[in-house]
Amino acid sequence: MEKLYLLDDAIISPLGFSTEENMHQLRMGNSGLSIQKPKKPEAKPICAGIIEDAKIDREFAKIGKLEEFTKLEKMAILAIHSVLKRNRSLDFSNTPLIIATTKGNIDLLQTSKGFDKNRIYLSEFSRQISNFFGFKQPPITISNACISGGLALVAAKRLAAVRKFENAIVLGADLVSDFVVSGFNSFQALSSEPSKPFSKAREGINLGEAAAAMLVSTKKPKRKSSVSLIGEASVNDANHISGPSRTGEGLFRSMQKSIKMAGISSKKIDFISAHGTGTKYNDEMEAIAFNRAGLEQVPVNSIKAFYGHTLGASALLESILNKHNMLNNEVFASANFEELGVSKPLNIITENTDIELKYALKTASGFGGCNLAMVFQKEEL
């Protein structure tokens, strides 16, 4: 069976500019969400995970020209740069760059901010990042709603099986733009306070921005312990484009197929990193799907109340946290969880806990009825 090893990573988020900083803040129970003053006086304030422009520019100035790149490009470049500086021997001629984003430079749609109008194209966003580092192959861009980041990891595994490359860089990045705020507002899906995934009092999502980058390899690293992606599946609900299936059909099937591909029994799963957005419908759907799959006893969390929903970055960002949780044998309390508010039982993690982790499941779902499940395995030497 083909495995994809998760070698190195970086997270650029309101909680910090490295994976270590992010893990530390989560361990301390610190959230990256804050109340943002509305740009128009008549608008309501929103609660979101925003990275200060000044902080990005301070870091970016060390490696590139500030005026040449958009905010999202700077975040993405900082994430990849952080990974590459620790892996200088990477052969760019045979290392694809796979990029996940839902909206790319969507903030340029209103005003171009002096950038070329082509910059709004997702492939141009990817090209800018690729050119910065000098990747030799044209970047691959995936835009598949809120499962994009995970799907990019999956694409690396699947393409490696056909194209026979050893390493790939996978990136997920999205902004909190007026565009998405306005859109989720029109759905009345935004919570004015930090979201409460799986809780009774949950009333919607927070948006967040982040860039997450990962170096992956088909070759097992010579390390004491390593984590790899060993099973994955994505199944559409074929039910509704903006609401999840009431039976959790697509997610249930995704989990079943991914566990089957991993070649393990579902009883082996030690931990689930859920999508857990904090909307009524998503969290209920996930609870139903986890129960149908017989996973209701497995410790589960959502970190959305620490980051907000980072859209195309989220499933990759959460896979990175998942990997480090596995290496450290620790799980974090489900952020902002109060009283269980879904119709099926779940084993929500209520405090940071040390537990032995060998197999973990990551799930994600999104608009268009898409779902994704990924099984990760830890191997010890």
């Binding site: 492939s123 141009e124 044209p138 598949n144 565009f179 484009i241």
Partner: protein
């Protein structure tokens, strides 16, 4: 064992024409996108009221997939691997314009390129693998490699893959059904040959 894969059927929608390898379903001088899409809907005698609520990209997907599904019914696990250059930029612009007054949730939901995959999944009852890729030009190698992997690893028995682009009212659709049965070999060269056959002027930015 690697199975030989074939292009079982293909369809194209471009510059007023809707056609497959066997016939032309519509050929019109109509320049207005919505009128053209409606003409296509009528000519193909589709009865699916939801069609009228969709954005242009989804409507194009429905028209193209309808032609293929009538000749070769899709199994429930037929995967959808689509790509384009402009993502859903037309709908993004529409939503951006609506933001000044009343941002419309009905428009916002279409501001993701993979919504067409969701619409096709609903229309044809496909509970299957979906992926939407964005590239500056038609990327035959990506479609071949990704689809081949899905079939070889038994993640999907067949794949509906291709290109579905819409910008400034110009559309360029090329979808093909890939399976282990057929006569036309599924290769990068063949995909390019069929795609570029009528495409001396692709719609993507030049």
């Amino acid at each position: 064992m690697q199975k030989e894969l074939y292009i079982k059927h293909w369809v194209k929608i471009k510059a007023g024409k809707i056609f497959d390898v066997e016939e032309t379903f519509l050929a019109t001088e109509e320049k207005d996108l919505n009128t053209f899409l409606k003409l296509g809907y009528q000519r193909l005698q589709i009865s699916y009221p939801k069609f009228h609520k969709m954005d242009g990209l989804s409507k194009l997907g429905i028209l193209a997939s309808e032609i293929i599904s009538r000749k070769h019914s899709f199994s429930k696990e037929t995967a959808l691997i689509f790509s384009n250059a402009a993502s859903c930029l037309e709908t993004d612009e529409e939503f951006q314009n609506s933001m000044q007054n009343f941002p419309s949730p009905a428009t916002f939901v279409y501001t993701l390129p993979n919504i067409v995959l969701g619409e096709l999944s609903i229309r044809h009852g496909l509970q299957s693998e979906n992926s939407f890729f964005v590239s500056p030009q038609f990327d035959a190698a990506l479609l071949v490699d990704y689809s081949t992997n899905l079939i070889n690893t038994k993640m999907a028995p067949q794949v509906l893959c291709g290109w579905i682009d819409l910008q400034s009212g110009e559309y360029d659709v090329f979808l093909c059904l890939i399976s282990s049965e057929g006569k036309t070999q599924f290769s990068e060269e063949m995909l390019r040959k069929i795609y570029y056959a009528e495409n001396d002027r692709p719609t993507h930015r030049t």
